[in-house]
Symmetry: C2
Subunit: 268 residues, 2 copies
Amino acid sequence: MNIKTNRAIGVFDSGIGGLTVVRSLMEQLPFENIIYFGDTARVPYGIKSVETINRYAAQITEFLIKKDVKLLIVACNTMAAVAHQTIADLSDVPVLEVIDASARIAIKNTRTKSIGVIGTPATINSNAYARAIHLLDKKAKVFSQACPLFVPLVEEGWFDHPATKLIAQEYLKSVIAEQVDSLVLGCTHYPLLKPLLQDIMGKEVNLIDSAEAMAKTASDLINKQKIGNKKNSSPDYVFYVSDLPYRFQTIGERFLGRTLGRVELVSF
Amino acid sequence: MNIKTNRAIGVFDSGIGGLTVVRSLMEQLPFENIIYFGDTARVPYGIKSVETINRYAAQITEFLIKKDVKLLIVACNTMAAVAHQTIADLSDVPVLEVIDASARIAIKNTRTKSIGVIGTPATINSNAYARAIHLLDKKAKVFSQACPLFVPLVEEGWFDHPATKLIAQEYLKSVIAEQVDSLVLGCTHYPLLKPLLQDIMGKEVNLIDSAEAMAKTASDLINKQKIGNKKNSSPDYVFYVSDLPYRFQTIGERFLGRTLGRVELVSF
């Protein structure tokens, strides 16, 4: 495969949650150009059917491939869980996805092999995390819990609201009862709840941030395949979205941790 | 306008919330055929931009007009708030929408002319309720509050969960402080929170259920224009959706208050 190293990394997500992955990529790979696509018109994916998620994921993959990216990163856990094969089939460049990346970190760090996973209903129902973890270690025990209210709570900005705490306590009850030593935050929105989740799980439980795991895996692949950008100049970041909804700028910058630069609207 | 009376009423919504309107229509107009469209693939609309909501609303209007409906009912407050004109321009049959219907009931029932309105961010930001109420009575005072977490809480089925109560108390604080005597539930999901909202607002506050208001307005128009179905036989109900998501049947039947019959999948 002949890859021009200044080609961008394509990152895609169901909305703006994937900006947490971009943020980690910017930190770990500061010279890489990045093209992001967020399907903000059709977010959230976590409550859609497998068929619809696959259809939408195919549209986005084709869009980014046309932008001549050198690597595709599926930041959205839901898409990774149910549409990974569709995306890989359409892509002529390497495809990395957040579930495999997080599973690797979880297995690397667990001592007791008792691992909790939280995510959207679509991610949890797909059983993709349990499959990915068992592929790496058959003896690991995985305890999963869907947390459908976490995405809207994060988008509302209620990171440490008493209601969020109450909801998190209820969702995490069963995972805590299983005495897991690691908890995979299997949705790009969840890292913003990290302090609250750590507080509820207890400080001895290792929280695995899927955004950081993803950036680490991307960095390893880029180094291994020697496709890192040779130009050590200020990189280009372009953000494509399918809608510019209410409070897009505010919420987006909260996820990215900095000002959003060039944002372009695309409609399918 | 030549309208065959056995033609169906077309009802459309961003998802399944509009089934509360269908439920009221079934009760108030038991012989009418109904065709429902719920955009379950792209729900929720309340957080999208005005442009995207208009584009989607136009697609659905064209779909239902082709189904030869005799009347169009916009059950979704968000679509009514920002896309009413687009829908009316595309339709050759009467269009009724939930905001005008609810505003009429609010003005009819208020004693103090101090009215609260709750809805999605898109509905509240559009100011459509305040405009509709002021068209009917210039002296009325309208106090609005967006409640973005109510839709996901209802879809989770947490109608009387302590977290829902906590969130509702926070959202309603400012409306309660204005001493409104009526509160418009400006979203088709909210009627399922009615007991909890009544408890927080106090029993002297009149809660206006936009689903019931809509069915009453439709019933009045049908009687006035003499377009009621002449056949007093068991009517046909068809439900079109753009996705069959996780828990569709369970949640849909909770809204409709009975078994869902014929459900068909359509993708745009």
